[in-house]
């Protein structure tokens, strides 16, 4: 039904979206370098992805918050903190934390992995839907930082010396890194690759 620019011997500028014949090194309009497909894209995606996953492990194992009250020091990991909140009745906040800190990062890992794999191996999902998925991942990535943001604000505000203080745990750093790596991974993905094998998929049953 549709063809890609690559198929018709064109290359689109990623900045100003003007189409040029293949082989043109630079966009005459905006001066950007023109490449039909980014060859290292998938490599970078996977590299960031792995880094993000690695960082996500300590982010969940180690405590996110260190709450120090007069007599007591409590260290909470992300999940434990959420459950603690829910046990105290703040189910809404617990759900938000769980979604922002667990569901979304995990979803992103799966989504990016799926997208990256589907470029190589083909996918069940139609390209349009995968593109939407990619756009959601890119859009939602920055919101994962909400947890880090909460920790940063809490530790800035609650510093009542001896009586009570909240300090970020080591997991906060790991989590922030994980989010950053995931975003970089998502950005590294060349969304044009989604469309490249559509023809194959469409043609294969025909062929």
């Amino acid at each position: 039904m549709s063809v890609t620019a690559k198929e018709v011997g064109l290359v689109g500028c990623r900045h100003c979206a003007k189409a040029w014949p293949r082989g043109t090194p630079r966009c005459a309009r905006c001066g950007a370098r023109l490449t039909s497909r980014d060859g290292g894209s998938l490599q970078r995606v996977w590299a960031w992805w792995f880094a993000g996953v690695l960082a996500y492990i300590p982010a969940n194992i180690y405590p996110m918050l260190e709450t120090r009250t007069l007599f007591h020091t409590q260290e909470d990991t992300i999940v434990a903190g959420a459950f603690e909140l829910s046990s105290q009745g703040a189910i809404g906040i617990a759900v938000i934390i769980l979604i922002a800190s667990v569901l979304i990062p995990l979803g992103k890992f799966f989504a990016i992995a799926y997208l990256a794999l589907s470029v190589r191996q083909g996918a069940r999902w139609p390209a349009g839907r995968r593109f939407v998925l990619y756009e959601i991942v890119e859009y939602i990535g920055r919101w994962s930082m909400i947890d880090v943001f909460v920790v940063a604000i809490l530790s800035a505000i609650v510093q009542l010396n001896v009586v009570a203080s909240i300090n970020p745990g080591i997991a906060a750093l790991a989590f922030a890194l994980s989010v950053i790596f995931t975003m970089l991974s998502a950005q590294s993905f060349d969304s044009r690759l989604i469309w490249d094998r559509i023809g194959d998929l469409r043609e294969d049953p025909v062929a």
Partner: protein, 794 residues
């Protein structure tokens, strides 16, 4: 074209994937490397896990409770669980790698919890931080052991306070409470651990520790005693409140002293007995080296009170053991009736009996059995008269009924007892006290008080106070009399009289010359001889006079006791009257009449000379000789007269002197009145008449020998005066006695004054009490100021 492109792209992509690896891969690789490195180091630094068993695990939380050594965390609890039969809580502790080698068999673990005791608060920090497990081990690395038994309490010797462990035991538990300090001169040098009862129930024994470096203070010659509580005594040094420290006041304390030299130095595990007080500890020193003791039961028929545990068991005054327990026993089978008998369990130390220390119990029992067969018996005897306490005495009875030691008796062999020798000391003492009680102390005191009252009244009476004044007045008046011009003028008059007398004597000598010439001397000599004889007779008669004088003296002494003041008053008024009298004109005229009388005397003598009366005088002298002879005869009767006078004096002695005094008073009154009248009346005239008569008397005097008797009379009067003087000399003595009585009264009164011993002691006692009160105030203030000192124990 379209066919070629798909062919190209996979090859290019594949080649890029393998050869042109992106630098981004460094990021996950770095992350991985970091993670691995962290994991490796963590693993490498991880120490071994040990397992400690506790009876309960209150407050121990996994991953939170620390294991501390010298208050530094060296491990953390990983897991808390149970052993197979749930009888113990097993706590797994992850140790630090560095300390792990030291945690060997010497290690001990206990849970530190907040604890509030009378001797302080400990583990206060665990209130906030939660409990922790404290461990102690020596500083020699041994093999790592992995299973330990946790202690219930902190051990006495820790790595902080090493020391020597000993065992203390006591027959009473009061001093052996856990955690009681062991004090030496008020300094804590040790501590007592948990106490427990010995298996036979006779002792309370407790593990204790003497901290290093105080171990040198303790040797086998050391005695421990209970220093808890306080003692209050009132003695010659004032009130004394004595206690070692507030902690010992509340919780008790053990102190010790090495009372004799010698003894082997302290070794771990030595056993010491704790005595109830210092006196008991001291007395025990001389009973040391006990050796084995044998225990007997003794059953006494008497139910006497006063035998108590720790009472002495003596043999000929030597303490050879002590009473351990006293109970009653009813055993119908053995004794045949249901009477209650006194059963004493006694412990006899054979070494004090002179037996060796190394005898076995069997040998000792054999020995006592042999002695019992010879008549050794136990009996009750009075131990202390004051307390009525009893002791057990072993005595040898010559004709004792045969008896033997019942060795099979349970629980201890029964030693035969005999009739006791108890004096009812208490009854005697009671009798004594009753008699003391019956003494009329109150009456005695009442009499004494009444006597003192009377004495006070006497001293304070107006009459007595006025006496000196009156005496002074009397003296003043006497001085007035003597100093009066009239009396001063007397000597001049007397001189005139003497001049007249001189001329008279001149005439007299002329007369005598004539007489000599007339040869009257011989006759006169004869007459004088006769007169001498008469005088001798008179002398004899007068020999009785001293006795009379003696009587008179006694009489005067009696008179001494008469109401003198009144007399003095009267006398003084008499003196006043006398002065008036002397001052009168008539009196002044007296010398003149005396002079004229002398002149007449002269005329008389000259007439005698002129009329040639020498011859007549011869006759007269002869007659005088005859008269002297008559006088001699009369003088022979004089002794009778003296005897009579004597009798009269004796009677006068019997006469009631007060009446006499009264009469004397009256007489004096009369005399006073008389002088009063005389001063203005015609007494001088009468006196002049009297002088005229005296003149006549002088004429008679010439022939009479009355002068000598007058002399004697004057001597008597002088004696009387001397007696009066002596009596007056007794007055100072009386005054001195009075003074002494008053001094006594004053001393008695002063006894309640300052400076007396009683006062001093009372005030000293009060001062001491005041000081004690101040000390308590200081303490209270100190605690108020720093309440934490109570908590910190400082």
């Amino acid at each position: 074209m379209t066919d070629q492109i798909p062919d190209l792209s996979p090859t290019r992509a594949r080649r890029g994937f393998f050869s042109g690896a992106s630098f981004v891969w460094l990021v996950p690789i770095a992350a991985l490397a970091t993670a691995l490195a962290v994991a490796l180091t963590t693993y490498a630094e991880r120490g071994p896990v040990i397992r400690i068993g506790f009876s309960d695990a209150a407050g121990i939380l996994p991953d939170e409770t620390e294991l501390r050594f010298r208050n530094v965390a060296v491990g953390i609890v990983e897991e808390v669980g149970f052993n197979d039969d749930l009888s113990q809580v097993l706590v797994d502790v992850r140790l630090d790698r560095k300390v792990a080698p030291f945690v060997d068999d010497s290690a001990e673990f206990w849970v530190v919890r907040p604890e509030v005791t009378v001797s302080g608060v400990s583990g206060l920090d665990t209130v906030l931080s939660g409990v922790y497990i404290e461990g102690t081990w020596d500083n020699v690395a041994g093999g790592v052991a992995d299973t330990f038994e946790g202690r219930e309490n902190a051990p006495l010797a820790t790595v902080f306070r090493p020391g020597t462990r000993i065992e203390l035991r006591s027959t009473r538990a009061s001093g052996l409470a856990a955690n009681t300090p062991i004090l030496f001169k008020g300094i804590e040098v040790g501590r007592i651990g948990a106490s427990e009862i010995s298996r036979d129930g006779r002792w309370v024994s407790a593990e204790a520790i003497i901290y290093a470096p105080h171990g040198g203070l303790v040797s086998t010659a050391t005695r421990f005693w209970d220093a808890s509580g306080f003692s209050f005594s009132l003695g010659p040094n004032g009130a004394e409140l004595d206690f070692s420290s507030v902690a010992t006041l509340i919780a008790g304390g053990i102190t010790f002293d090495t009372l004799v030299s010698g003894g082997t130095p302290l070794r771990p595990g030595m056993v010491f007995e704790v005595f109830p007080d210092q006196a008991a500890a001291r007395s025990s020193v001389f009973e040391s080296n006990e050796g084995a003791a044998v225990t007997f039961t003794m059953i006494f028929e008497e139910n006497a009170s006063g035998l108590a545990a720790n009472g002495p068991v003596e043999w000929r005054g030597v303490r050879i053991g002590q009473v351990v327990n006293v109970t009653g026993i009813v055993d119908q089978e053995t004794f045949g009736d249901a009477r209650v008998r006194l059963m004493a369990t006694v412990e006899i130390t054979p070494s004090r009996f002179g037996l060796g220390d190394d005898l076995s119990e069997e040998e000792i029992l054999d020995y006592f059995e042999a002695r019992a067969a010879e008549g050794l018996r136990a009996r009750l005897a009075n131990g202390s008269i004051l307390t009525g306490g009893l002791k057990i005495e072993l005595v040898s009875e010559e004709d004792a009924e045969p008896a033997a030691i019942d060795r099979d008796a349970d629980p201890f062999p029964v030693f035969p007892a005999t009739e006791s020798e108890l004096a009812d000391v208490s009854a005697t003492a009671e009798g004594l006290f009753q008699r003391v009680n019956a003494l009329p102390v109150e009456e005695l005191l009442a009499s004494a008080i009444a006597f003192l009252d009377n004495a006070t009244a006497l001293v304070a009476s107006e009459d007595l106070r006025q006496t000196p004044g009156e005496i002074r007045g009397l003296l003043a008046e006497a001085r007035g009399v003597i100093g009066s011009e009239e009396l001063q003028a007397l000597p001049a008059d007397v001189r005139v009289i003497l001049l007249d007398l001189q001329s008279a004597s001149g005439d007299l000598s002329a007369l005598l010359t004539q007489l000599r010439e007339a040869g009257a001397a011989e006759r006169l000599l004869t007459a004088i001889d006769q007169v001498g004889t008469a005088a001798e007779a008179a002398n004899t008669a007068l020999a009785g006079v001293p006795a009379l004088t003696q009587r008179v003296t006694e009489f005067v002494e009696r008179a001494n006791s008469l109401p003198l003041d009144q007399l003095v008053a009267e006398a003084s008024s008499l003196a006043a009257d006398t002065r008036v009298f002397v001052a009168s004109e008539a009196f002044r005229a007296l010398p003149a009449s005396i002079t004229s009388a002398a002149a007449e005397l002269e005329t008389l003598l000259s007439s005698v000379t002129e009329t040639g009366t020498a011859a007549t005088l011869n006759t007269t002298i002869r007659e005088a000789g005859e008269a002297a002879m008559a006088i001699e005869a009369a003088a022979a009767g004089v002794p009778n007269v003296v005897a009579r006078i004597d009798r009269i004096a004796a009677r006068a002695e019997d006469v009631r002197l007060d009446t006499l005094a009264k009469e004397l008073e009256d007489v004096l009154d009369t005399a006073a009145r008389l002088f009063g009248d005389a001063s203005e009346a015609d007494l001088p005239d009468a006196l002049a008449g009297a002088l005229g008569e005296a003149e006549a008397a002088l004429a008679e005097l010439r022939s009479g020998g009355l002068v000598e008797s007058a002399n004697v009379t004057l001597a008597s009067a002088r004696d009387a005066a001397v007696a009066i003087e002596a009596a007056a000399g007794g007055l100072p003595d009386l005054v001195a006695r009075m003074e002494a009585t008053l001094g006594q009264a004053r001393t008695t009164l002063a006894g309640f004054d300052d400076g007396s011993a009683f006062q001093r002691e009372t005030s000293a006692a009060l001062r001491e009490i005041e000081r004690a009160a101040e000390a308590v105030t200081d303490l209270a203030r100190a605690i108020e100021r720093r309440p934490n000192s109570l908590i910190l124990g400082r």
